[in-house]
Symmetry: C2
Subunit: 333 residues, 2 copies
């Protein structure tokens, strides 16, 4: 494995730097090719690290972007934040990728201003690999943009298709638009126009519209929507999963018989709960930038943060930004 | 219980008239105050009924609206469809409500043209009661409109609030807007403007923004969004539930131990599966019309169709359209 360096914004998550430091220690332990740069308040990070680590170093950042801060405010006043400095390390080649659990809007805004975008891409998009019964599906945009034009959706589809090729090695990933029905006549104007653009594009394997329920049915490898829709769909899905897991746990702890069967079922249920564990699926990619930027959930725990670091390493290994950049030229209209 | 008559569009669903006739027979059996009018091809319906039923009669309709037919086409050419005639029976007072498993867009279009709308409401919305861990939540719009202005969202919020009061007896249901975050600055323009309108409205208990995951957490009694977002959120949630149920069934049928525990767990899992069964939750309300119109899922089975009929009866019993109409006057701006 090639050596990889990832910068971690250690200060921006809801749970503080302790979670990031623990995940960092776990990450370098499991991957000998990995070096990490913790970006944040040196004294705090040193205390948390408690000792020297050959593959973890600290870069000082005095400021932090707040979770509810306006991105425009952060962009003007938080140039010395852990977030901005971590992105700067990617721009300067000191790290090949970075991970932040901070304010999504600010990460987007800093990402665009610090790291170059792919030429021809108007806006970055947040992309995540979601699990299904068979296979998995890349979904974007999950909240980088609260609306999207047909051209934006078209560009998201191109990036998603190239991302799926790079990550999973599929030569012709199936690309679909998320819509309220499968028929030609369904949907709003942007979606219908984007469908028209994609149908004319030879190099994308566009299969048409899919519905929300298709996300988990291995119908498409890449599903494209605007960030408002994608964010709400993702969180609704997480909500249903959480509800069901609560119901299962309740069912197996009620009454003598329920508790008895629950005890016997523990290995089976345990496997299922681990599979559904949101921490395992943490880490979304900011596509559109010429560098690997991974957005972690704001309240990620240690395991979730570790999953996000692994995702960053994977994208660096697969050279995702380079592979997207190379092929976009041929595809953009 | 007061006598209730419901008209059933017997021809428009994916599964044909047999499903509707079976559900109709079950419905009149369980509810002695209920009379039903089956609207469709008399010869076919008579064959399916196989005999006289004192509380089920047939009204002839020669035509059917196709599932993928454009609403504008249906409106012009399908005045003699089972859907249009069923709605006409509500308009004429022969039935107090109707149920259709047909083309949603056409049901909307015919609904607006056949039955009067509440004065001041620009567009109908599809509203459904979704289950959560504690309590339940009315969500609208689930697909009547692929986009919505701030004023539309405001009107949906009013109707949803009045609906929740009428159905569940809550005096001040908590009303929220679905958004990509809870902070003031989040969301697109329509949602932020609708929030502003609702914050100024004394008679609605507006609690602000909620996210997709909040739908199942008893945070709000009424959640408002545009139909594109709502449809995709609902179907994504159904997709996750379906995936999880498949995973549970798989887990308990794998290996000797899995099958053994699965056998013991059958009563517990069975209760859970019944609770999550989409058929139990079938039947969405078309709000905005001065009559009860229930949209059933297109491929509803007998039990699902029965649930939709029950929903129609409930809304007639609770006089939902009258109660919405009465109070809208004070609330509309």
């Amino acid at each position: 494995m090639k050596p990889v360096t990832i910068a971690l914004d250690a200060m921006s998550g809801d749970r503080g730097a302790g979670v990031v430091v623990t995940a960092a220690l776990d990450a370098v332990r499991e991957n000998e090719a990995l070096s990490l740069i913790l970006v944040g308040v040196r004294s705090e990070l040193e205390a948390l690290l408690s000792g020297e680590h050959s593959r973890i170093r600290i870069v000082e950042a005095a400021d932090v972007v707040q979770m509810n801060e306006r991105p425009s405010h952060a962009l003007r006043h938080k140039k010395n934040s852990s977030m901005a400095i971590a992105l700067g390390l990617v721009r300067d080649g000191e790290a090949q990728g970075c991970v932040s659990a901070g304010n999504t809007g600010a990460l987007m805004a800093f990402g665009r201003s610090v790291i170059r975008m792919h030429p021809g891409i108007e806006r970055p998009a947040i992309c995540k690999l979601i699990p299904s019964l068979r296979g998995r599906c890349h979904v974007l945009d999950l909240g980088a943009n609260v609306d999207a034009s047909a051209e934006n959706l078209y560009q998201f589809a191109l990036m998603g298709s190239l991302m799926a090729s790079a990550i999973s090695g599929q030569s012709e990933p199936r690309v679909a638009l998320l819509n309220v029905g499968e028929e030609e006549i369904k949907g709003n104007e942007q979606v219908r126009l984007a469908s028209h653009l994609l149908a004319q594009c030879d190099t994308v394997n566009y299969i048409g519209y899919v519905e929300g329920s298709d996300l988990f049915r291995d119908v498409a490898d890449v599903v494209v929507c605007d960030g408002f829709v994608g964010n709400i769909a993702l969180k609704t899905g997480e909500g249903v999963a959480g509800l069901l897991i609560d119901l299962i746990e309740q069912a197996f702890s009620r009454g003598l018989y329920g508790r008895f069967v629950g005890f016997l079922a523990r290995p089976i249920i345990g496997r299922l709960l681990r599979l559904m564990d949101p921490a395992r699926h943490n880490g979304a990619s900011l596509l559109g930038l010429q560098g690997v930027v991974i957005k972690s959930h704001g309240n990620a725990n240690e395991r979730a943060m570790l999953a996000a670091i692994r995702q960053a390493v994977r994208e660096v290994d697969m050279e995702v930004p380079r592979r997207i950049n190379e092929r976009l030229d041929d595809l953009l209209i």
